[in-house]
Symmetry: C2
Subunit: 345 residues, 2 copies
């Protein structure tokens, strides 16, 4: 039987109804927007509607139950006794539906997510390939002309390069943010052309075999002024310090504090306005997280981003991000694309 299901069973106090589509995919390999998996000690049932049922019947090791489009209502009619549900996925309305039958739904959190945080060999292989595709696309992208082209045009060019290099999909929408827009950590690419002297924050990742990469580099469109150069150098220093600190047993908040401390000791104090990093796998933001309020502790087999940033309102921004594999004695930086300050045309 499936080893992931076995690990999950060992963590369960009662049967678990898995409704997060990513968790369904993790446990069974099945992709659907309307499916649920009920993991019991002696069997695994997969519920899905007509549209997906034929595909589901090709899976090994699961009993497929065809439902109506109203998945939870169909399931509620077939359950009894205590059944755990994913409280971070099931909506309030879904919970009302689940408890309308004979079952006693019990809220549980992060059960499958905690398993997903530690990657197995098959997962690491897919992540390495996604990172390699992303590296190659960034290499080609860095040879493009930036100035005079819009963020949106550049983002689409990078998406094409990622696809040409082997991405099945984007891990998330490509970010290209230049000049004042780069001062916002989560900007949509716009129509403004990149100007000389601007930093250009480029954040993108390939999806390969369902697994995500995530890479940010900040390019200099021509010569930067002294303040933006300094921001770059401080951000890179903070990123390298964080990489040196990441290892199994370290608290996410402490890794974050290493990078934050470097930045807060400079003129850029207070301008690192997000967390240091997050797990990457089937989705691009997963466990563990490294930020000031995190309770997570790094473990061998975690794959996390390490991505400090400095955001200067009205002026620009810098962010540098690698993906790393956490080990007992440190971390293995999977991203290979260089990160010294690089000018583009």
């Amino acid at each position: 039987m499936n080893e992931r299901v076995e690990r999950l069973r060992a963590a369960l106090a009662e049967p678990l109804l898995v409704t997060n589509p990513v968790n369904v995919r993790y446990l069974t390999g099945f992709r659907s927007t309307n499916a649920a998996v009920l993991v019991e000690p002696d069997r695994v049932r997969l519920f899905t509607d007509f549209r997906y049922a034929e595909k589901a019947r090709r899976l090994d090791g699961v009993d497929v139950i065809e439902t109506s489009r109203n998945l939870l209502a169909s399931i509620a009619g077939q359950l009894a006794g205590r059944v755990a549900f994913e409280a971070d996925t099931v909506t309030y309305a879904g919970w009302e539906t689940l408890r309308s039958g004979d079952a006693e739904p019990v809220p549980r959190r992060r059960t499958v997510e905690r398993l997903r945080a530690v990657k197995d060999e098959e997962e690491l292989d897919a992540i390495r390939r996604a990172v390699a595709v992303t590296d190659r696309a960034f290499e080609r992208f860095a040879r493009e002309r930036f100035t005079g082209r819009s963020e949106r045009e550049l983002a689409w060019r990078l998406e094409q390069l990622l696809r040409e290099e082997g991405a099945e999909a984007m891990a998330f929408p490509v970010v290209v943010a230049a000049g004042p827009t780069a001062a916002s950590p989560h900007a949509d690419p716009g129509g403004r052309p990149v100007g000389r002297g601007e930093t250009v924050v480029v954040d993108a990742g390939a999806e390969v075999d369902g697994y995500c990469a995530d890479c940010t580099r900040t390019f200099a469109a021509g010569e930067l002024d002294a303040r933006l150069r300094a921001a770059y150098d401080v951000c890179l220093d903070a990123q390298l310090a964080a990489l040196a600190a990441v290892r199994a047993g370290v608290h996410g908040r402490d890794a974050d504090a290493v990078a934050r401390g470097r930045i807060d000791a400079t003129e850029f104090a207070g301008l690192f306005g997000h967390g240091l990093g997050h797990g990457v796998g089937l989705v691009v933001h997963e466990e563990p997280v490294m930020r000031p309020e995190s309770e997570d502790v790094l473990a061998p087999g975690n794959v996390v981003s390490v991505e400090p940033g400095i955001y200067l309102p009205g002026e620009g921004g810098v962010r540098i991000e690698d993906i790393v594999l956490v080990a007992e004695d440190g971390c293995d930086v999977l991203t290979r694309f260089p990160k010294e300050r690089t000018a583009v045309t």
Copy 2:
């Protein structure tokens, strides 16, 4: 003040906390994965974290409140009294967070969704442009060679054409399903090359200014056998009959029954395994829905897909889909790409 907010206020019994990101976008134009809008009689507050706050402050007519990453926890600390929440979006865990403060959260469903079902002129303009982009991309796509190329390669080609014609993004992942794969209404494009004599179901739509198009055509890769030809002709007949039936005041289930009746009167009875259609707008599946169990009634200004299909396990499938604007006396078919049976090479 914003007319959409005014229409919403008229429908509210108490302040509404809007957390569905699409509804936030509809009411304020603001795009974020971590934002909420509280609509009260005298003001509109937008809650979001640092990453999005700078962008939010450029909005008119809303007070921006910067929160921690844990949006609902921050909001719960600032509310009191009865506050409606979106029961189809807030998770069980989110509801527990909301009720941890001084507020009394009241579940409400479909409040903003019902408003979104009737499009205003600005929305119709965006949808028409998204449909036109999709039409042009399908025209170019129909001139491509199909046989010998994989579904995945063809899907990526169509995505490129959609982008070249003006799509900002895909309304949903492009579907190209050929031969036996076409027998599944929701198949992911695979690596198998398209063979001669197969039907190829192509389902895609551009996103333009945030609004979606949705179009399905079924191409014949060379000559089809008599059964697949018959399936095509029956599906087209059902689609035309449904288009003639769609108008304001018609129940979604009755429009569905028109197409279903045509198919069920043939050798393909029982093989139309999904609903007739769904609303299309900021997302590609929204209200109203036309399927057997629907309670929705069509209204002027609804924009819906009309998409019967016939699925023959092991053999192939056919689906034909247009987008239409519902009017008092009928419907205006927005999709222009032809739908007679068309052979591709």
